[in-house]
């Protein structure tokens, strides 16, 4: 029997990249439901019926207080147990832009499990720690930045979402709070050691960037990270906005015959992983 991967794209007030994220997964044959968080909390819909949880971009609750904060708390407080089970079952989570902010602020990424002194049960690797180990903060420019960036893709990483990707890809960012700041150097070193830093901003020829190639002033130019299992990925740039070739800002100059853009592989990898492993 061929398994049909099921993807839940989570929505709430202010979510706004759900349609294109759903399109990207469904392109590779997934069944995608766009579900309001109230439907999960009330039990009308259940996380366990899905293989992939996608947190799309947007401005959940208007980014009021801080980006992603309110939805992160809702996940942690209202769906914490379901999420733990979801991850323990070896399933996948993808957070794009606001989704990445939510994962970091809910303590799901980087997911090192350093929850000493929080009063929470000792975390297993890759499970919500209940305490932030990093944050995504206001861009150094103090502005919303909508621009295209080059990303170098880590080659030695447990990340299941980036298998067989080119070493450098081109994606757009659109955010005001994308500056990745780890809590301390121990966490940064652990991320490096475990290959959890999946995407770095770089120049068009792969060199160390400055503004605007690094659009937000992110620590060590970090653009996206995964958890230690490699199954949870969060990134500020939007792979779903370079899903089709004509979304490239100068596609009319390029001689590409491909229909798909450089972000498509991420969604394809997620779907293939479900087919192969779940």
């Amino acid at each position: 029997m061929i398994k049909i991967p099921k993807v839940l794209v989570l929505r709430t007030a202010g979510t706004n990249c759900n349609e294109e994220t759903a399109f990207a997964f469904s392109y590779f044959g997934a069944v995608v439901d766009q579900v309001h968080i109230n439907e999960l909390v009330s039990g009308q819909k259940n996380l366990k019926d899905y293989h992939i949880l996608a947190l799309p971009g947007g401005f959940s609750y208007g980014d009021d207080i801080a980006s992603g904060r309110i939805l992160a708390n809702e996940l942690r407080l209202k769906l914490g147990a379901d999420l733990q089970t979801f991850m323990a079952d070896g399933k996948l989570i993808l957070g794009i832009c606001n989704g990445f902010q939510i994962l970091v602020k809910a303590g799901i990424l980087p997911g090192l499990g350093s929850n000493e002194g929080t009063g929470l049960p000792a975390g297993r690797q890759g499970l919500p720690a209940g305490r932030q180990e990093a944050t995504l903060f206001h861009n150094d420019s103090a502005k919303f930045e909508a621009r295209w960036v080059n990303l170098s893709v880590a080659q030695h990483t447990p990340c299941v979402w980036t298998k067989n990707m080119d070493t450098q890809i081109y994606l757009p960012v659109a955010h005001g709070e994308g500056k990745f700041i780890p809590k301390d150097s121990v966490i940064l070193d652990t991320l490096k050691k475990q290959g959890q830093i999946v995407f770095h901003y770089c120049t068009s020829n792969g060199m160390v960037p400055s503004y605007p190639d690094n659009p937000n002033g992110s620590t060590e130019h970090i653009a996206g990270i995964c958890d230690p299992t490699g199954r949870v990925l969060g990134l500020m740039p939007h792979p779903e906005r370079h899903f089709l070739n004509h979304q490239h800002p100068f596609w009319t100059r390029l001689d590409k015959k491909d229909k798909l853009g450089e972000g498509a592989r991420i969604f394809e990898n997620g779907i293939n992983y479900v087919k192969d492993h779940l």
């Binding site: 294109e20 609750y61 904060r69 309110i70 621009r147 899903f243 009319t252």
Partner: protein
């Protein structure tokens, strides 16, 4: 009790917000501030314990990685080395983060929370005098219409955050003495009540109530004033005009300017693909077999003059609701925004009392659009910013939205017996008198008198409404809907209930705070509200659906079938108006219009040997200069639909012509969106301004690969006081230009808007804006894989000029830079233009064009430079080869004239023959070659070099002014 929390950034981190404020202070000319730190303040009221307050901070308000907090009893004390200024919202002004913060606190299980207010504290380091602090506070940190600086201990922690509820007294229906009123009384009633009705209109109301045999209530009078306002009724465009051209010209009676110009084009043309024109919130045209697209552009000038952020914010929010309220609701696809400001370099001393500096207006307007558009998840794909000193007291802010609506959902009809359901935001005192306020001139007192008309939007509320609404639409849960815009419930219910009549219980409207009287509830313009008509059999399912999406939905009343508008408050009837009188009782008045062609001086040209400096001046003119700094704060790619973005080329910084989106992901069919606007042409002749703007909007769509016979237009007139005959005269002439050009091109108008009374009374003088028309165009693109962008692609390719250039420097950027206006405004030669567009269209379809740019402000010279630096390639061009039909054969005229209907086109030599064959009968000539070396070299009529510059230098010059 109230907890006061101050949150500051941990030391050692870059305070980017502080740095941004520091820059603004330096821009004011105050250079003694060395550092600014921004501190967030939250006031939390309710039954909240210390433990709970701590938890709220640590788990919700404070990001422990980068921030630290303290509970404080009052605003931080002033210290030796720095000044502290704390800015809070005025009571009654919506605090944008209050609702979600309360939700976040309740999510933590702290249910005792009742109210939240926020403030911002600015710590300024450096030596500052009282006057400096006052300047910084009023010009950088706050707008007194919505905010205040905390001055005392009592203000920093008030005893309560909740607005005092009005004492419960027995309420009385206010009856206005109208039957016995003299003419003088009537005029006084109109002005004191901010009704903005003239004597004739007041007398018509008086006569009606004489027939009814009673005096009106206050709410009845208000309802009539709202419905009859210029804003809602378009009296000028629909009334009678006696028009003369020249003092001795023969008078011509125009029964309805709208019906004889704008609407006439559409009805004359009878395009089958026009699905719904003029009567709905937006115009609708066919897209493909499953969907239609709709388009609407609106202005929000007066509110943006007073509170730029809020004005633009709610302007965009309002036009998005127009899309939502079109047919049975359309999905918003894209925004387009056009602004007119005074130049950012205007000296402070030239700013009239009560007006804000254009730099601040621009910053606020751009932020307002960014905030609403980005948070709604709607890409802002196209726009324009123009600068002219005339906009100093009255900026123009046009916000547009394109929507997608399923075939079959384009019509709506209220059924007798349907329930009236209000959805979305709560009702407060915001925006009282917005509709009537925009129907009068601004004065330096406007900011105090009309501050109720100023508001801030809540895009997330509207996003929730959008999400819920589209679901309800697809389940057929309602029969009709409209948005609450100007006039609030009064206009929405009045409009929907026109044929049936309506009964409304005003106390059922959810309120932001207690104490509103019945009239305030009825005419409030609180944002993010829509009204639906719902069959009683569907009401439960509808309310349930909105509840899941956390959107408030409340039954207010019923569409009755009585033909009357009946309003109740606390069980008492407060209004009983005849719908027929309300909508058709407005007396037609005749307005006088006189058009006098201005007396203009001929241009005075110089004989310069080198025009490189003139090219640089044109590129750095604010109108031409790169708008990248604005474009990059707008999310222009959300929804993933963009095909041609606002910035194109190898470094993604070239200015594209029309925007192209493909609304259905994975499909090839697209929509092109463009705008045409030119103020200086209108100063010479409003007729040719209109025709040129139509040509420009169409030409941009043709330039990206659109199809001429699938282009629809919108008009937006912004004019001065139409009660003055000269203003109205030029308005009539402009409308005539619209008719002439749109008819000739076969491009129907599908919707439009007018904003009149754009005048600014200052020191006894009335400063009018130059009559301005914005033409927005929408075109269907059959195959988005064939679209063309403007950046040069390959060295060795040929560059063609298509369309003749004429001696038409009038109104050009070239003359503007020489402080001249000129006389020879570009005209449009319709037959030639049509031929050109059809030929270009064919060439695009056959894949013969490698890149193309429309020639507009700055003429051939600017277009050539833009194509070159966008492609990072050089050009060599020959002026003498340009198809030219003027008498004065001069390089400056040929290179900088802004004649209409022209393009520069890059063609691969292998396709040149086919290209030339396709353009047979259309003026075209090879004028240059794309070069690998990054130089722009232009030869003059005698083959001498007249322009020579590195293209990257040109780009830097073009990017610098608005960086």
């Amino acid at each position: 009790m109230i907890w006061r929390v101050e949150i500051k950034q941990k030391s050692g981190l870059l305070d980017s917000a502080g740095q941004a404020v520091l820059k603004d202070i330096a821009d004011l000319g105050i250079k003694t501030v060395s550092k600014v730190c921004v501190v967030a303040v939250y006031l939390l009221e309710g039954n909240v314990s210390r433990e709970e307050a701590k938890r709220i901070c640590e788990e919700l308000l404070v990001d422990s990685i980068v921030e630290e907090y303290a509970f404080t009893l009052s605003a931080s004390k002033q210290s030796q080395d720095h000044h502290i200024i704390e800015i809070a919202y005025n009571p009654g002004v919506m605090d944008p983060v209050e609702a979600s913060t309360i939700k976040g606190i309740r999510d933590l299980g702290v249910l005792g929370i009742e109210a939240v207010r926020t403030a911002k504290q600015y710590h300024l380091y450096g030596v500052l005098g009282e006057k400096d602090i006052e300047q910084i506070t009023s010009r950088v940190l706050m707008n007194k219409l919505i905010q205040h600086a905390i001055k005392s201990q009592a203000q920093s922690i008030p005893t309560t955050l909740m607005l005092a509820a009005a004492p419960k007294t027995k309420f009385d229906v206010v009856v206005v003495e109208l039957l016995k009123a003299t003419d003088k009384d009537l005029i006084r009633l109109s002005s004191q009540g901010q009704l903005y009705l003239n004597l004739n209109e007041m007398k018509a109301i008086q006569a009606h109530f004489k027939k009814e045999g009673r005096n009106p209530t206050d709410i009845e009078l208000e309802t009539v004033a709202q419905t009859w306002s210029e804003h809602c009724n378009h009296k000028t465009f629909r009334g009678i005009i006696r028009y003369r051209e020249g003092k001795k010209g023969k008078a011509k009676i125009i029964r309805s300017l709208f019906k004889t110009t704008i609407a006439k084009v559409t009805y004359d043309l009878k395009k089958k693909w026009c699905v719904s024109v003029f009567h709905d919130n937006a115009g609708v045209i066919a897209f493909d077999k499953d969907f239609h697209v709709c388009f609407k552009v609106e202005t929000h000038n007066h509110p943006s003059a007073l509170e730029p952020f809020g004005g633009a914010n709610t302007g965009l929010g309002g036009v998005i609701r127009d899309t939502l309220g079109t047919g049975l609701a359309a999905k918003p696809l894209a925004n387009t925004d056009v602004f007119c400001f005074a130049p950012p370099t205007t000296p402070e001393g030239d700013i009239p009392t009560g007006a804000l500096h254009p730099k601040r207006v621009m910053k606020g307007v751009v932020s307002g659009v960014r905030d609403y558009g980005n948070k709604m998840g709607i890409p802002t794909v196209n726009g324009a910013i123009l600068f002219d000193p005339h906009f100093i007291g009255n900026p123009l802010v046009f916000c547009g939205n394109v929507g997608l609506i399923p075939v079959g959902k384009e019509k709506k009809k209220v059924q007798k017996g349907d329930l009236i359901v209000a959805v979305g935001g709560k009702t407060g005192r915001d925006g009282i008198h917005g509709a009537t306020f925009s129907s009068g001139e601004l004065t330096s007192e406007s900011e105090t008198v009309s501050s109720g008309a100023v508001q801030i939007g809540n895009p997330i509320e509207e996003k929730k409404v959008l999400d819920a609404l589209l679901k309800a639409r697809d389940k057929n849960l309602y029969t009709a809907l409209t948005d609450c815009g100007a006039g609030g419930f009064s206009s929405a219910v009045g409009e929907m209930g026109l044929e049936t009549g309506a009964r409304v219980d005003l106390d059922k409207a959810p309120l932001k705070y207690q104490g509103l009287n019945y009239t305030e509830i009825w005419i409030s313009e609180s944002q993010e509200r829509m009204v639906l008509s719902v069959s009683p059999s569907k009401i439960d399912e509808l309310l349930q659906l909105f509840a899941v999406e956390n959107v408030e939905a409340v039954v207010l009343g019923e569409f009755t079938g009585s033909g009357r508008l009946q309003l109740y408050f606390q069980g008492h009837q407060v209004c009983d108006l005849d719908m027929h009188f309300l909508h058709d009782g407005l007396p037609k008045i005749t307005k006088e219009a006189l058009y006098l062609a201005p007396t203009l001086k001929a241009d005075k040209l110089f004989n310069e040997k080198d025009l490189t400096n003139d090219l640089c001046d044109a590129l750095s003119h604010f109108n031409v200069a790169s708008k990248e700094s604005v474009i990059r704060v707008y999310d222009h790619e959300v929804q993933g639909t963009s095909v041609i973005k606002p910035l194109v080329g190898i470094h993604t910084d070239g200015p594209s012509d029309a925007a192209v989106i493909s609304p259905r992901l994975g499909f090839k069919r697209g929509v092109a969106i463009s705008n045409g606007i030119n103020i200086r042409f209108g100063m010479i002749d409003p007729l040719w301004m209109a025709a040129s703007c139509i040509d420009e909007a169409i030409r941009q769509i043709i330039a990206v690969g659109g199809t001429l016979d699938r282009i629809a237009l919108l008009d937006n007139f912004c004019w001065g006081n139409p009660d003055k005959e000269d203003r109205l005269g030029s308005l009539v002439r402009c409308a005539q230009g619209c008719y002439q050009a749109a008819k000739a091109f076969g491009t129907p108008f599908i919707s439009g808007k007018d904003s009149l009374y754009n005048e600014y009374a200052h020191k006894g003088k009335s400063l009018a804006i130059p009559g301005t028309i914005l033409i927005s165009a929408i075109g269907i693109v059959e195959d988005t894989s064939k679209v063309v962008t403007m950046d040069l692609k390959k060295p060795g390719n040929s560059i063609y000029a298509v369309g003749s250039t004429f001696d038409e420097l009038g109104g050009s950027i070239y003359l503007a830079n020489k402080d001249q206006l000129g006389q020879n405004v570009p005209v449009v030669r319709y037959k030639t233009a049509m031929k050109t567009y059809q030929a270009i269209e064919k060439a695009v379809k056959s894949g013969l064009i490698t890149s193309m740019h429309d020639i507009s402000e700055g003429g051939i010279a600017v277009a050539l430079a833009e194509m070159a630096f966008a492609g990072a390639l050089g050009v060599t061009a020959m002026t003498k080869d340009v198809p030219y039909q003027g008498k004065r054969r001069r390089e400056d005229v040929i290179l900088f004239s802004e004649s209409n209907s022209r393009f520069l086109v890059e063609v691969d030599p292998r396709r040149e023959k086919a290209f030339k064959a396709t353009l047979k009968g259309v003026a075209h000539a090879k004028v240059g070659i794309v070069e690998a070396t990054p130089e722009l070299i232009v030869y003059g009529l005698k083959d001498q070099v007249i322009m020579n510059s590195n293209i990257f230098d040109l780009k830097t010059i073009w990017q610098a002014p608005l960086k």
